[in-house]
């Protein structure tokens, strides 16, 4: 908007910002204005993080907890994609199905995924089933909505051309509808991975006996702020890795189809 700045300036300013942020945090922690127990310095969090990597806390090492979380996430996310994408595509293709499912979907949309926790615990227990259902509740809607949009907004000329050439409808679905919805589906998957990961964390805070969320709850119960912060860092790292890999997949797929701008 106002003056453009050079790349060098922006890198310098960026580092300045980070140093300012970490410096303020460190300064506040060592100043004694706030109890050290509640605001450890960044170095102490780093120490705790590395310790947790090879010492067990709340039943497993940090990596063990991360793996447990990721496993649940993977099941819930894949389930949401496998059910949600075909449902969305079919809703985009068959008008009647759209008209039947949409009102139910709209009614359920306002139930926060986390509000399913009590039923999830009741139906599937607190081991792996319950959390998977919560992740599913978080990740399912974007899968459906984006597949639906993808199918709904296919260039009608493509479908008309296929129809005119006498292509049977299962082939139209497989060879026209699905391929042209792929970009929309992929961006839906990214949203749903983010929401699913966040729901998982919530589920693990409330009902779980392993996973990063559980580690954080235990840290909180033991008033170990460093453990809680290490958990936050771990969650952020896994979330970031998930998002970057999906972003990469998106780029690869779009490039293959010559759609990249």
């Amino acid at each position: 908007m106002n003056k453009r700045i050079s790349f060098r300036q922006s890198v310098l300013l960026g580092f300045g910002g980070l140093i300012l942020f970490i410096g303020l945090w460190h300064g506040l922690a060592i100043s004694g204005l706030v109890p050290r127990v509640f605001l450890p310095s960044p170095l102490e969090v780093y120490d705790r993080f590395t310790t947790l990597l090879d010492r067990r806390f709340a039943g497993a090492t940090l990596l063990g907890h991360m793996l447990a979380s990721f496993e649940r996430f993977a099941y819930g996310f894949i389930l949401a994609a496998v059910v949600g994408i075909p449902l969305g595509l079919l809703m985009g293709w068959y008008r009647l199905l759209d008209e039947i499912v949409s009102p139910l979907f709209d009614a359920l949309r306002f139930v926060a995924p986390i509000a399913w926790v009590p039923f999830a615990a009741l139906w599937f227990g607190t081991g792996i089933g319950g959390p998977i259902m919560i992740i599913f509740a978080g990740a399912f809607p974007p899968c459906v909505i984006n597949a639906y949009r993808g199918a709904k907004f296919v260039d009608p000329r493509l479908i008309e051309a296929a129809n005119m050439l006498g292509t049977p409808s299962h082939r139209v679905i497989r060879e026209v509808l699905v391929p042209s919805s792929v970009p929309s589906i992929i961006s839906g998957l990214r949203v749903s991975a983010g929401l699913g990961w966040q729901s998982l964390v919530g589920a693990e805070l409330i009902v779980a006996s392993a996973g990063v969320g559980y580690l954080m709850v235990q840290g909180q119960a033991n008033i170990s702020t460093t453990t809680v912060m290490s958990g936050m860092v771990a969650i952020g790292l896994v979330g970031l890795a998930l998002d970057s890999s999906l972003r990469l997949a998106e780029r690869v797929i779009l490039r293959k189809r010559g759609l990249e701008n």
Partner: protein, 260 residues
Amino acid sequence: MSRRVAIGFVTILIVGLIWLMVTSVFGVIPSGRFPSPAETWSALIHVSGRGYGGGDLLLHAYNSLRLVVMGFVFAIITGVPLGLLMGWSRRAEALINPVFLIIRPIPPLAWIPLAILWLGLGDAAKILVIWFAAFVPSVINTFAGVRNIDRPVIEAAYMLGMPRMRFVTEVLVPGASPMMFTGLRLSLQASWTTLVAAELVGAFYGLGRVLNVAQQDLYPGMILVGMGAVAILGWATTRALGMAEARVMSWNTAALAAKG
């Protein structure tokens, strides 16, 4: 459209009938797993009359709504100006963006244990996490909104020597508001999710507290009532935000046209 409404109505009716059939009439689903309509109704009477989990339904709903509104408003007050600043000044963007990049991947729900450590189980911890959940989308979308303003509009304002204050109120804010409202809608959703999670983790009042106690008591009727109440409040606040958006936007176009 009327076909749509009719089919939707029939669908909801059929689902309701199926619900009645599988729970009360044939008993396919035991009432310990999912409540029948009658059990849900009696749970609703229970919580609105005698109260449940420390208060009646209105008290719980009022507490949840109050916390969401406070956290959300606080997030707007802090997030929108920061987003405007970052959109306006490339320097501010360069300075602040990296800090955002490292904090953003941490989902708002992950702040709950820290907020409880810092502020306990009372209102303050919840307002903090809701603020955090709503703050990030407000900033990012306001920022994107400013960057989406047509360059000629800004250049024209410059060329005409518009004073800075008027530039902010008459170009920057109205130009950014469509995306800003998108951000606010996302913020509102995030606020509800976060509040319910925070109340499930620990609270004295609120709809999440109702859900939590009902889960411990194995009381499916009450769970369903709690979920319904959360959904209704979520819908109502989204609706209210949509109305506010319609008002602000119409005012904007009218004001701009009048100045024309």
